[in-house]
């Protein structure tokens, strides 16, 4: 079965650089969520999209932006990177039509800012 695809798997950037993380949801899933997880922490909600429109926003810095495209893939853009941005970034997808179900997470992007 198709899963959620994230790229890249690993990313090393220097402070003040920019990074773009990509997420390809499961086909026919209409909703994408982005989470940030620091070492030993629980996943923190960043932002979500439903049918290509932003549906909710969490503790996402102004330096970050995201969008969902016509093919439902989503990108998280991070600028002016700081050391504290080093974390695992997960996206998850779900279909909100039909029976409620759990999230399917991608394998994540490990971002290291040096």
């Amino acid at each position: 079965a198709a899963g959620v695809i994230q790229s890249p798997r690993h990313l090393i950037k220097e402070k003040r650089e920019t990074a773009t993380l990509k997420c390809y949801p499961i086909p026919r899933h209409d909703t994408v969520y982005w989470y940030q997880q620091g070492p030993g922490q629980d996943p923190q909600f960043l932002i979500s999209f439903y049918e290509k429109m932003q549906s909710d926003k969490g503790s996402i810095p102004d330096r970050f932006s995201a969008q969902q495209f016509s093919d439902y893939h989503s990108e998280l853009n991070m600028s002016s990177l700081e050391l504290g941005d080093s974390a695992l970034y997960f996206c998850a997808s779900i279909s909100l039509t039909g029976a409620m179900e759990g999230y399917t997470f991608g394998s994540g992007t490990r971002l290291t800012v040096v």
Partner: protein, 113 residues
């Protein structure tokens, strides 16, 4: 509002049982349970949608007490593969575009031989 999980950590010997609890001060419309291995993505275990609901997945089951706004995850006859961090997650409403999941801080489960 973040759900509260307890205990923070559990150490078991293979074959022993464990219970992980999740509670919220706000009404829980749905409760999710996930297991995460170190450096990997959270894996969905089960979802409970209404009070009194119980579900099972192999030797892992869960219940949802809507009145107490609590959910419990039961792991019986634990196996080494059960080791990982277990997260409960709660959603603020029953569906629609705002199906945002807020996770508890997690319970680290270690199963030893």
């Amino acid at each position: 509002q973040q759900p509260v999980q307890s205990p923070q950590a559990v150490i078991l010997r293979e074959g022993e049982d464990a219970v992980i609890n999740c509670s919220s001060s706000k009404a829980l419309y749905s409760v999710h349970w996930y297991r995460q291995k170190h450096g990997e993505a959270p894996v969905f275990l089960m979802i409970l949608l209404k009070g009194g609901e119980q579900k099972g997945h192999e030797k892992i089951s869960a219940s949802f007490n809507e009145k107490k706004q609590q959910s419990s995850l039961y792991l019986t006859a634990s196996q080494l593969s059960y080791s990982g961090t277990y997260f409960c997650g709660a959603t603020p409403r029953s569906g629609g575009s705002n199906y945002k999941l807020t996770f508890g801080k997690g319970t680290l489960l270690t199963v030893n031989p």
